[in-house]
């Protein structure tokens, strides 16, 4: 029989089945529909989870940004308006129950005598009278005594519970330094950092529950005070909120050494707190906090897995099947990975535009600069003020540029490019710079005063030197331009059709020019470039941080929204003029990305 004849048989079989049909039962389609719906449900569920993650990431980012912004603003406000704050504090009205009297904010000096170790409070004008036993204990527990005799006490003030149901106690932090050179008492608590206790609760709560300090070290410390054998050890900060009581502790290096072989491990501190809370729960009108106790499952659940015994030379078919399946799965996974790698974005270029604002409130002008400006300017001028205003002016920032990016690994990437960056702000001046015997009138600025600040023009002819003349206040626009070369590393949090990316990096900012444009028109517009006569550094460095929310459309395009922060590492002004200006810029960019491969 030759091959041709063999082939005939196979072809005949094939032909026999070529038009063959058989009807399946109705249940097949019903089951297919069910499977499809289930798959769609899973897809929807995954999508919901994905959007939840995106929402969570956005909220986290927004909170970070808000926190950073708040920190920046409060930091600046505290620097500028610190006096106002202190005045308000001391002028707070007293005599009402709802408001704390100003006296409550007065720091008290407390001295602990070597023998008695009692805390005498000065200026306690609440009418609370002498401390009760519980208060004394609290006070004792809140005081931390260092080995060398320095004791820092963080004590919270409380209102009398009889006066009102709900009280708002303003937390008063009292740092009390006590010199106790002969401190040899058994209670030896070391505190590496000043403790801070913030209490906002009724006195009843404080008395009944005791605070977490009482929970952690209360009973033990109390005992140790009498026995003189214990040392408390904990390297842990703890915070606990309970029934409106908020207390923040910052402990370091607290050591407990119980002579009665009662050692408390650091990890047990929280459980000690819980136990203490439970113990004190009786005094809390029957409230008992739930404490989870681990319990072992009965031995019934600890079942031994059955073991099959096969002959030595025979492989377990089930095991073999699993092994084979595992190998197959690995092979499929490899193929999938390869496919995904082919589809992934490896190299791209993008074109973008960003707009935002910058804040220079943390800028400063040194006293020597102020003095030199004041000396060189006319009496009508307020040169140092202008330098201050110009350096601290906040405004808007724009940038446009191109960038290239490449993926380094599954999640990491690097990108860089070139941007043109401009920062524009306005400040008010009340004098003009007159030069060349009134041939030109310029707006007052750091540029104009640079020679005066650095003493460069001191040796020149007095008539040729710039002079200042007082005017009505007028607005001046200050525009600084840079060419920025950023290099950023990115981490892909989500890399799908929708992408979420975190970026951080450095930028080299090359100063181009500064343009001072006085509003009105009677004064000349001046431009300051780079060089020795320029107050600006030619090369600056900034730290960059931001996110990128992108959406991929088509095979090769991605549109991205880039909120980001830019913070200069060095001042834009040269160090010899004594002006420190590091504007924090927040901008939101829109980028169009073209993916090469």
């Amino acid at each position: 029989m030759n091959d041709m004849e063999r082939r005939k048989f196979e072809d005949a079989v094939k032909d026999a089945f070529s038009g063959a049909e058989a009807s399946p039962t109705e249940t097949v389609w019903t089951n297919i529909e069910l499977d499809l719906e289930r798959a769609e449900g899973d897809k929807m569920r995954r999508r919901i989870v994905f959007y939840k993650l995106v929402a969570a990431a956005s909220v986290a980012f927004a909170m970070c940004m808000a926190g950073l912004g708040y920190y920046t603003v409060t930091k600046n406000e505290s620097g500028v308006g610190g006096n106002d704050l202190s005045i308000n504090t001391t002028q707070r009205p007293s005599g009402t129950e709802e408001k704390m009297s100003s006296d409550k904010t007065i720091s008290e000096s407390v001295e602990i005598s070597d023998n008695q170790k009692n805390i005498s409070e000065l200026g306690n004008e609440n009418g609370n009278g002498p401390l009760t036993a519980a208060e004394e204990r609290d006070a004792a527990f809140t005081s931390e005594t260092s080995r060398d005799g320095d004791v820092l006490i963080a004590q919270a003030k409380k209102n009398t519970p009889a006066k009102k149901e709900i009280r708002e106690h303003q937390a008063v932090v009292k740092s009390q330094t006590i010199n106790d050179k002969d401190q040899t008492a058994s209670e030896s608590v070391q505190l590496a950092q000043p403790g801070l206790a913030s209490v906002d609760a009724s006195q009843k709560t404080n008395h009944g529950v005791g605070d977490p300090k009482t929970g952690v070290a209360g009973s033990k410390a109390n005992d140790s005070r009498t026995t003189g054998e214990n040392t408390v050890s904990s390297d842990k900060s703890s915070s606990l909120a309970l029934l409106g009581t908020t207390q923040i502790f910052d402990y370091k290096n607290v050591t407990i050494d119980n002579s009665a072989s009662q050692k408390i491990a650091e990890s047990d501190v929280s459980s000690e707190q819980n136990q203490a809370l439970v113990a004190s729960g009786v005094a809390l009108n029957g409230y008992k906090p739930f404490v989870f106790n681990e319990r072992n499952l009965p031995p019934f659940y600890k079942m031994n897995s059955p073991k099959l015994k096969l002959p030595d030379n025979q492989i377990d078919p089930g095991e073999k099947m699993l092994r084979e399946l595992k190998l197959k799965e690995e092979a499929y996974a490899k193929e999938d990975k390869k496919e995904k790698q082919q589809q992934s974005e490896k190299l791209w270029t993008s074109l973008g535009f960003a707009a935002g604002g910058f804040n220079s409130l943390n800028s400063s002008v040194s006293s020597s600069t102020s003095a030199s400006l004041a000396a060189s300017n006319s009496p009508a001028s307020n040169g140092s003020n202008v330098a201050d205003k110009q350096a601290k002016a906040s405004g808007v920032a724009y940038s446009v540029g191109v960038s290239m990016g490449a993926k380094l690994s599954k999640r990491w990437l690097i990108q860089g490019g070139v941007n043109y960056l401009t920062q524009s702000s306005n400040y008010t001046a009340n004098s003009v710079v007159v030069s060349d015997n009134f041939q030109s009138l310029k707006a007052e600025s750091i540029n104009a005063s640079y020679g005066d600040i650095t003493q460069q023009s001191q040796s020149a002819d007095a008539n040729a030197r710039n002079k200042n003349a007082g005017t009505f206040p007028y607005s001046v626009n200050n525009n600084v331009q840079f060419v920025s070369v950023p290099v950023q590393a990115g981490y892909l949090v989500i890399n799908r059709k929708f992408g979420l990316q975190l970026n951080a990096g450095l930028s080299t900012d090359l100063f181009l020019q500064n343009t001072i444009t006085p509003e009105g028109g009677s004064l000349d517009k001046t431009t300051q470039g780079r060089g020795d006569d320029s107050p600006y550094r030619s090369v600056n460095f900034s730290g960059l941080m931001g996110t990128e929310l992108s959406y991929k459309f088509g095979q090769r395009y991605r549109l991205a929204l880039n909120p980001g922060l830019r913070y200069p590492i060095n001042s834009v002004y040269k160090s010899d003029i004594g002006i420190q200006s590091t504007p924090l810029t927040f901008d939101v960019g829109l980028r169009f990305r073209y993916i090469f491969r």
Partner: protein, 185 residues
Amino acid sequence: MLSEQELIEGCRKSNRAFQKALYDRYCRKMLVVCLRYSKTTAEAEDILQEGFVKVFQGIKDFRQEAKLETWITRIMVNTALNVQRKKLYLYPMVDVAEINLPEEEMSISGIHFTQLLEMIQALPQGCQIVFNLFAIEGYSHKEIAASLGISEGTSKSQFARAKSLLQAKLLKESTYYERYGEAKI
């Protein structure tokens, strides 16, 4: 009647009506494919169900380089192989002794496909799959060996065994016909 392109487009949008239309058009042919790889109708319907779910999920990636029917058939065969592969792990295929095939090739020209199907279904598991893949789907022994994780020799010997068993059944069938003169189907 909807064209193939319309069916594809409708299924890509997960339109249930189009999916049903596509199913109605190909389910009968595909059931025969599934029957060839299974022992019972219930088993074949399970494969059919799983296969069509894969078709509807994967139709977005269908590049239309082949005919839709060919593509669906391939999915059905792969699904059937996945199902049967599990059984093959438990009862692995081994080389079987060469059987001397009869000199004359048996004719199957007058045999209905249901009879042939019954014969194929009655073959041992390994033989059935290799016979289907080689004789009907047109795969080479090398491809079959790679697909099933067996050696090429095993594939050949399994096919030879399948063929001899089928021919023996066909011979039996024709003898019966000659003796009793009954219509085959």
